[in-house]
Amino acid sequence: MSKRSVIPYGPQHPVLPEPIHLDLVIEDEKIVEAIPSIGFIHRGLESLTDKRDFNQMAYVAERICGICSFGHGYGYCETVEHIMNVEVPDRAKFLRTIWFELSRLHSHLLWAGLMADAFGFENLFYQCWRVREKVLDAIELTTGGRVIFSVNKVGGVLKDITPEMQKMILETLDFVEAETKVLKKTFMNDYSVQSRMKGVGVLTKEQAKALGCAGPFARASGIATDMRMRGYAAYGELDMEPIISNDGDCYGRCEVRIGEIFQSIDLIRQAIAKIPDGELAAVVKGNPNGEYFTRIEQPRGEADYYVRGNGTPNLDRMRVRTPTFANLAGLCETLKGADYADIGILVVTIDPCISCTER
């Protein structure tokens, strides 16, 4: 047996997108064990409920994460709406779905770029982000923000998507679809890309289940779970099937996420075709009193929201369990047995967001 050594990895490391610390036990070039630790950017956003009222918390929740911001705002609002028995107008539900899918599009394209960067394909990274820029433009056109939308409020949405804007979104989708098809060829078929991703960090279905993985990470291991199938917002009226892959390796995760880009494009088209006329928001009276658990599908995976109100404007508790929190255990499992040089790719394949994990 060769000598084992422990290498501290992160939180500041060129390949890491966010501050996570890993203690890696390595034997030659192979990782034997990885012990994660987080906690460098705990901001205490959840305890802000003491100082901010429940309407303001919608804006705080949105700022948990810079990429899946819409989802956090939406998840929080839906939970509070459920507690207060607010019936959200249908148009608002469709608008939320469209924005949610736009945010998924930009998140997945961002991830594709980061992944390309992780396996050393800088040019592909530029191309992914060039395409993503158009999605951001569409988001800015409709909401006024590029990544922080700020269109959700308890009871509905603040802004409308006018027919001209819908047309612009559809044009953007055509562009994104055409460009992503070209990029997909490189991701899925290229010899050198495949050599970096195939068979790297395999997580079997059983392992993924035992470790409680969520989202695209679990779907890549063959677990067909997608919270959108619950039919929240307008998803109940749209056609969709979870996209899964049975490979369980980095290639499978890439396949799932790229598949989801096309799925999102399809969902937005369906939603725009079906969007009804109507009000944007319901009137909300009183303060939340009660508790509820909601789960929604974020671009990065399943996210849990728990809100407990006590009849005053200040909530007793707002809890967000972000997808990365659930996927940390899975990440450490994939690291076992991997090459030291593959850590960068493996950390990126769970699409980590440590900032939202710590809130």
Binding site: I35, S37, I38, G39, F40, H42, G44, S47, K209, A210, L211, G212, A214, I223, A224, T225, M227, M229, R230, G231, Y235, G236, E237, L238, D239, M240, E291, Y292, F293, R295, E302, D304, Y306, R308, N310, D316, R317, R319, R321, F325, A326, L328, A329, E358
Partner: protein
């Protein structure tokens, strides 16, 4: 598309029941989706919630442990349900529960025993003194 909203239940249990209920959930093939603590100000009660989810039916079952030193009128505090009642860790049953349990113990002061791996109240590297819930009566500040 058939939307499956799924059940959303809260099951109240005592701290001693937790490991056995968690085992039942595991046998049913449910996944631990999250665990969190909440401090209910008015009743001065600490609540631990363990959410178990089914990935095919989208059901969610929340095991709820209520820990309080204040009993309802005309009742006494049940044994083993006080503020610092010991709660056994379920990290032996669900290995990834350790992160949630470390968080609950650090930020809310739940007395969870034998977590593996144990981060010794330093999962979050923050300067502030934890836990954040109000101190017990009679305890030095």
């Amino acid at each position: 598309m058939n939307a499956t909203e799924g059940k959303n239940e809260i099951i109240r249990i005592s701290p001693a029941e937790l490991p056995i209920r968690a085992m039942e959930m595991k046998e049913k093939g449910l996944r631990l989706s999250q665990a969190c603590a909440a401090w209910v100000k008015k009743e001065e009660r600490l609540e631990l919630s363990y959410s178990f989810v089914d990935d095919t039916t989208y059901d969610i079952f929340n095991l709820r442990i209520e820990l309080s030193d204040k009993a309802a009128e005309g009742e006494t505090v049940k044994e083993g349900c006080g503020r610092d009642a010991e709660v056994a860790s379920i990290s032996g049953i669900y290995p990834y529960a350790a992160f949630y349990e470390n968080e609950m113990r650090e930020l809310f002061g739940a007395n969870i025993k034998v977590i593996d791996p144990d981060y010794h109240n330093k999962l979050y590297r923050i300067k502030e003194e934890t836990p954040f819930v109000p101190k017990k009566e009679g305890e030095a500040k």
